[in-house]
């Protein structure tokens, strides 16, 4: 009797352990750790990247392409305070694109969770068969190689000195003068969006935020939002920035008018770095979405850690109809081009006649 009870307890424990293993995704993990099919190879690579196990991830690559491990890790994990260094791979989705007996192409959508929100990246990965195992052919990262040289940087810098006095009539410095050049209320399926452009008309830099309130027919406020990060907050003299303010769940039919305010502040600023936006063009990406792509070139001598692209799209009448934004997860090294792409909604792409791109940037203070 006692022996039978012991056998029962052992069996029950084994069953419970097996159930726990299955529940915890044991089968999935086992599949991810093997590479017996192209999908398993890619899944295993993504799982290693998700676990930030760079040795394991690198071991799953096909090494005929001769990708140095340091370059692979730098591309995946980021470097020099880039946005990727503040990101982790949250999830991924895999689709087969093409397959044969010895090689296959799979499309992977990587969903990164980053310091500025979630970022999606789509890659087509080639997978080759090596005996019983499939390995991912990782394209060799194309990091710009800049020869050693001296780049003189002598751009202007503005500092604000002294203390402000609250006594009436004492000499003070006014806030920068800014002007909202355009404002357009756009209805989207799930929201109302205010888009437009703002200019710093002054001769000093401005730190700017824009707030908008949707007003009901009776004059009361339906919703109030600000431009958050869809604006270039620091505007140098005569610089123009697009802005976008989202009102989730609002409908234009509820809105009688819009009240919009710019809030400029006088701040210290530097005219460095200068970032050019090169070879911009509109095309379709691997998922068939319309995108605006191009390359950012940091023309200054300091590394730009995080860059954000803001693109304003105009209709044939020159009216701003949409503002897209996207972060670049690589750091911008001096003189080296870094690709970017931002989405354009399908209906906007059909009406779009022209566009303008500006770059917002963050550079960590140097030691």
């Amino acid at each position: 009797m006692k022996r039978g009870l012991a056998v029962f307890v052992i069996l029950a424990t084994a069953v419970l352990l097996a159930a726990g293993w299955l529940h915890a995704g044991g089968l999935k993990i086992r599949a991810e750790r093997s590479g017996s099919t192209p999908e398993e190879a890619v899944r295993a690579l993504m799982a290693s990247i998700q676990a930030r196990d760079w040795d394991q991830a690198y071991s799953r690559l096909d090494h005929t392409s001769d990708v140095p491990k340091a370059d692979f890790v730098r591309e995946i994990a980021g470097s020099d305070g880039s946005l990727r260094t503040y990101s982790t791979l949250q999830s991924f989705d895999i689709w087969p694109v093409h397959a044969s007996a010895d090689q296959a192409v799979l499309r992977v959508r990587l969903n990164w969770s980053s310091a500025v929100g979630s970022l999606a990246e789509v890659r087509d990965l080639q997978v080759v068969r090596n005996g019983d195992v499939w390995n991912v052919v990782w394209p060799k990262p194309n990091f710009a190689k800049i020869p050693l040289h001296v780049l003189p940087v002598n751009y202007l810098r503005w500092d604000v000195v002294g203390r402000r006095s609250d006594e009436w009539g004492t000499a003070a410095v006014d806030s920068p003068r800014v002007r909202i050049l355009s404002m357009n209320a756009v209805e989207r399926p799930d929201r109302v969006v205010i888009v437009g452009e703002v200019e710093n008309e002054d001769t000093v830099p401005a730190y700017l935020n824009i707030t908008a309130a949707l007003l009901k027919p009776d004059g009361s406020v339906l919703a109030q939002q600000d431009s958050f990060d869809v604006i270039s907050h620091s505007l140098l003299p005569k610089q123009v920035s697009p802005y976008r303010i989202d009102f989730p769940s609002a409908r234009l039919s509820q809105v009688k008018s819009v009240r919009i305010d710019a809030h400029p502040l006088l701040v210290p600023a530097s005219a460095d770095p200068v970032i050019s936006v090169e070879n911009q063009s509109v095309s379709k990406d691997a998922l068939g979405r319309t995108i605006l792509k191009g390359a950012l070139v940091n023309q200054s001598g300091q590394i730009v850690n995080i860059a954000q692209v803001l693109a304003v799209f105009y209709d044939a009448g020159g009216k701003a109809i949409w503002v897209s934004d996207g972060y670049v997860d690589q750091a911008l090294y001096p003189q080296g081009p870094v690709p970017f792409a931002v989405d354009i909604p399908t209906d906007i792409a059909e009406r779009m006649h022209d566009y303008h791109v500006v770059v917002n940037h963050y550079t960590a203070p140097s030691a």
Partner: protein, 289 residues
């Protein structure tokens, strides 16, 4: 605020009491008008003792007095201009009102706005001066404030404005040349200088030229000036836009030493334009026919 309400309430109460008793004995002797900061005396006809209350705009005083003797009020106890109410109570209360008027102007409050102004802008500069006496009372007696205007590179001019209820204001156009604009407001011995900056206005006649340099072209603007010939300050952003076979390229570059410079690589014929804020410059067709 609370003090004022309390003072008004007490003042009203004592006024009613005073009105009730005034018919019997109009006993307080005090000047009708006093200059702020000037000492004066209050006396009450009769014999015995009583309590003196002095309610002013900013303070209230209570003092035990002897009737038939002068009670001195120090200048510091009546330094705020306005209506003071004197109430003396013994068996009954009597009330009298004294007006304390501002002293001679001794100080000027001067606001010159804005701190930066584009050149040649009509009525863009405005100044407001308020005359105060040494006790910070607004001097409401009309007086003439002189504004001495000194713009860089111009002769000094003066404008005299008479105060209305203590305030003198003026408006003027900004000058056509950039630089400092110093305005000094003067009244009697008091003077207050203020300096604002007149800055270049929008770019005018923005023009660039292109020159090949290896595989790229270098774009350089002519010195960028406003319509009055003032150079736009360094750091002002100029946008260059190039459209060619490779797509569209843009760069926002700051002015350095009156000019903005940019470099682009070109793929085939290119169309290049330049803008500064909302001002468009010339357009160049590069390599086209």
């Amino acid at each position: 605020m609370l003090l004022r309400i309390l003072t008004s309430f007490c003042g009203l109460s004592f006024a009613l009491l005073g009105a009730h008793s005034a018919a019997q004995e109009p006993a307080i002797t005090a000047p009708k008008n006093v200059t702020a900061g000037t000492p004066f005396a209050i006396s009450v006809v009769g014999q015995g003792k009583g309590t003196l209350y002095l309610f002013g705009p900013t303070q209230a005083i209570k003092r035990e007095i002897e009737f038939g003797k002068d009670t001195p009020i120090a200048g510091s106890e009546a330094s705020s201009a306005g209506i003071y109410q004197i109430t003396v109570c013994a068996a009954d209360c009597v009330t009298k009102v004294v007006e304390v008027q501002p002293a001679a102007p001794a100080r000027l409050g001067f606001l010159l706005h804005p701190s930066r102004v584009p050149v040649s802008t009509p009525n863009a500069v405005n100044g407001t001066a308020i005359a105060f006496d040494q006790y910070n009372n607004i001097v409401i007696t009309p007086s003439e404030i002189t504004f001495r205007i000194a713009a860089s590179g111009e002769k000094i001019s003066e404008k005299t404005v008479r105060t209305v209820r203590g305030v003198a204001a003026f408006q003027m156009d900004s000058r056509p040349n950039q630089g400092t604009l110093e305005v000094t407001a003067s009244l009697a011995t008091a003077s207050e200088p203020r300096v604002i900056q007149q800055v270049a206005s929008e770019a005018c006649g923005l023009r660039m030229t292109a020159a090949p340099s290896g595989a790229t072209i270098t774009l350089q603007t002519d010195p960028i000036r406003d319509c009055k010939g003032n150079p736009l300050p360094d750091g002002t952003i100029v946008s260059f836009i190039k459209v060619d076979g490779a797509g569209k390229s843009t760069v926002d570059t700051p002015i350095k030493k009156d000019r903005a410079i940019a470099q682009f690589s070109v793929s085939g014929p290119a169309r290049i334009s330049v803008a500064c804020g909302v001002v468009l410059g010339n357009e160049i067709t590069w390599g086209g026919r």
